[in-house]
Subunit: 433 residues, 2 copies
């Protein structure tokens, strides 16, 4: 068989784009040995070619004009590693339109504009792959889509944001406050200068939207995901959780349920005996539960130049092998129906166990009033801890763990409790796993 | 596009074969929706059709003559779920020879006869897939071969035998002796009537051979894997390990090293902080470390009718998609060169930290003699515990943890120590992770 050459153009040579260039440079011989295909990066787009890069770009045509790549008939596959929605969306749409396969590492793009992108890919009979958009180097997209293809997916849940997990791990293991842990994460390169998307749960919601889309063969709209970040979680809460035998983790959760999907991102008390409680620092781990396979878990580095490049390269190899087999399409991606929307369960109807941390005036009878309110809303208490520590003058922390209760009921109860004259407005409600 | 029908024949309708029939029956609509392909199980072979089965086989031609399947030109894919080497090997070879793709769940077959099978598949330009042979339903073979295709694999290590892990978990968590835990595992269906292959480490070695073959693109011969089982591990050892902060696990280990592979299966003291220490009961988990991705882990049920069927179905779907793309081959499997043999590091040259449990006569000066012998063989001690408990009259257990030492040196030291007149022949040497 004649050796085929697959020609690649890279859009955006930042951190991830550099990794993509590096993996095809360093592993050229290995990849050809494993596939019989020669991979050639012909050109790369960036706005800034002055900046020093840690990879040898000689032999690659470096351009600032995207049309040099999009209009080059030799380029088979376009890799999008710009990140964010603009101008990535426009470039990817145009690449698909021109009949090029696209591989992207851009979770914001796929989660926010997936519907349009999948539609365009279908129309153009090309493929759009995005392994690197969830879980960095962990082959979770392939595992879910191909490895578990014979399963109806029942649940997906896990840790998909390394920044939040790093912060929560430092709070749990070393007693740091949120702000200290965030600052350290920034210094060590695990959080960006503007960490909002990570600590607000937004990035985790992007990844959940993508996983839930694959699992349901529909496009899950971001705004249907209930999203809470970790910014309100204090060391005090992490310590309370610890004393109850739990570790606080930012979880992305998709429960398929009967007909309606329950989609949520929020900090969650995970029992220490659960494997997710042991997933520390910047690492990611996702459980996928299928009706045949049962519970599987995928674990590894969720970000970083080299892991992300590993995932991008895996998509490129898949496309190249299909091209080698003389087909114009990958069948797998197209299982997401760009016109389909899942029915989503409103969060108010979801049932959870809750962790409530209040500050109450240190006087008799208060617990009775609060538990009375909870009882009126059909919420029953499983544990209570009141510390003698006065954080605000005369106010002490009171922590309640509840049995399962409806979110709507908890919302109403909390409104009443926090408007009492014996509680402070500073409170936190978390959910138990 | 016209809907393609892919026709399947099953060899062996025991536990796993029943699952395969079930998954294509239960998920027929789902699989067709996801792939555009209709999967049809046309015929099935078994020696016994009298036995009651829990799956509806009406519509499937049930035969006792293998040629009804092998010689049927309509059958595209043969699934081998007989298990063991004979007659599976003969049937699979004949199926490949007749130009049929083969999917097998049979680790003993692939590990013992892989070289001949891969050679035959190459000659016939068909594929032989075996996702279900390692880790049951966990998509580890696909993850390693496709998801991590751009990585040079550095290390693979994990828990790949559910029976041993179940036994060790019950010993660790509930203080059972090996024999009690084995009996319970048999009663609960986690161990076979003859558990030899599982508790001797043989089954784990099969799986390691397969994973190491994929990682190295060579065929790893079973007899190059140093294999020790768990039959000599006592509750006493599990308890000592626990007191040092370790959990005893049967690990399969492949370290690529420079040029030579280090291949071992043995009970290992895993630090409790390591994720593998938390993998309990019948579950499996495998770490795969690549030069780009870093450390990933795949976790889930390593056996059972439904998980195994999930993996077999995933292989069948991959083959069917390739057939849909009008290709006669899968490129991926053929990366294992049937003529290649890896260079294997002799176990005597491997370095490990060791756990030694001896029984020594309860008298002064003994520890000095033993540590003297270790010192003479360049083995230095990191911890020592001697209990006051007399297990055999006047003999007490003495446990030593060492720093890194060569296996050959430990072997020599142990020969000297156990021939002392103050030690009993009952001793155990384990390795630390």
């Amino acid at each position: 068989m004649e050796k085929r050459v697959v020609t690649i153009g890279i859009l955006g040579v930042g951190n991830v784009g550099t990794g993509v260039a590096r993996v095809f440079l360093d592993q050229a011989a290995l990849l050809t040995e494993r596939t019989g295909i020669e991979f050639r990066i012909k050109s790369a787009l960036d706005v800034d070619w002055e900046r020093e890069r840690t990879v040898d770009l000689s032999g690659i045509q470096c351009t600032t004009d995207v049309d040099d790549i999009l209009s080059d008939p030799e380029i088979d596959i376009v890799v999008e590693t710009i990140g964010g929605e603009d101008p990535a969306f426009d470039y990817v749409m145009r690449a698909l339109e021109k009949g090029k396969h696209v591989v992207t590492a851009n979770k914001a793009l796929v989660a926010s504009r997936g519907r349009e992108l999948f539609r365009k890919a279908r129309e153009s009979n090309v493929d759009l792959l995005f392994e690197a958009s969830v879980g960095g180097g962990i082959p979770i997209v392939k595992g879910l889509r191909e490895g578990l293809v014979a399963n109806r997916i029942l649940n997906i849940y896990g840790i998909v944001n390394g920044t939040s997990n790093y912060i929560l791990t430092r709070m749990h293991q070393d007693g740091l406050e949120f702000g200290e842990a965030l600052k350290e994460a920034q210094e060590r390169g695990f959080a960006e200068a503007d960490p909002t998307l990570d600590v607000s749960g937004g990035d985790a919601a992007h990844k959940l939207a993508i996983l839930a889309s694959i699992a349901s063969s529909t496009v899950v709209d971001l705004d249907t995901i209930y999203t809470e970040g970790i910014t309100n979680v204090s060391k005090l809460d992490v310590d309370f959780a610890k004393s109850f035998g739990y570790t606080v983790k930012l979880l992305a959760i998709c429960k398929m349920g009967e007909g309606k999907m329950d989609l949520r991102v929020h900090p969650t008390l995970v029992p220490n005996s659960h494997l997710l409680a042991s997933v520390s620092y910047e690492l990611n781990a996702v459980f996928v539960e299928g009706d045949f396979v049962g519970k599987t878990m995928f674990y590894g580095p969720g970000a970083g130049e080299r892991p992300t490049a590993s995932a991008v390269a895996s998509d490129i190899v898949d496309l190249a092998k299909d091209m080698e087999l003389r087909s114009g399409e990958r069948l797998s991606t197209l299982t997401i129906d760009p016109e389909a929307r899942p029915e989503v369960l409103p969060v108010s109807q979801v049932e959870n166990r809750f962790y409530l941390r209040l500050y109450t005036y240190d006087a008799p009878g208060i617990l009775a009033r609060i538990s009375g309110i909870l009882g009126n809303h059909s919420i029953s208490i499983s544990s209570v801890v009141q510390l003698e520590r006065h954080v605000y003058d005369n106010y002490v922390p009171l922590v309640i763990l509840t049995h399962r209760a409806r979110e709507a009921d908890m919302q109403k109860a909390l409104a009443e409790i926090t408007s009492l004259d014996v509680t402070l407005p500073d409170y936190l409600r978390l959910r138990l796993f």
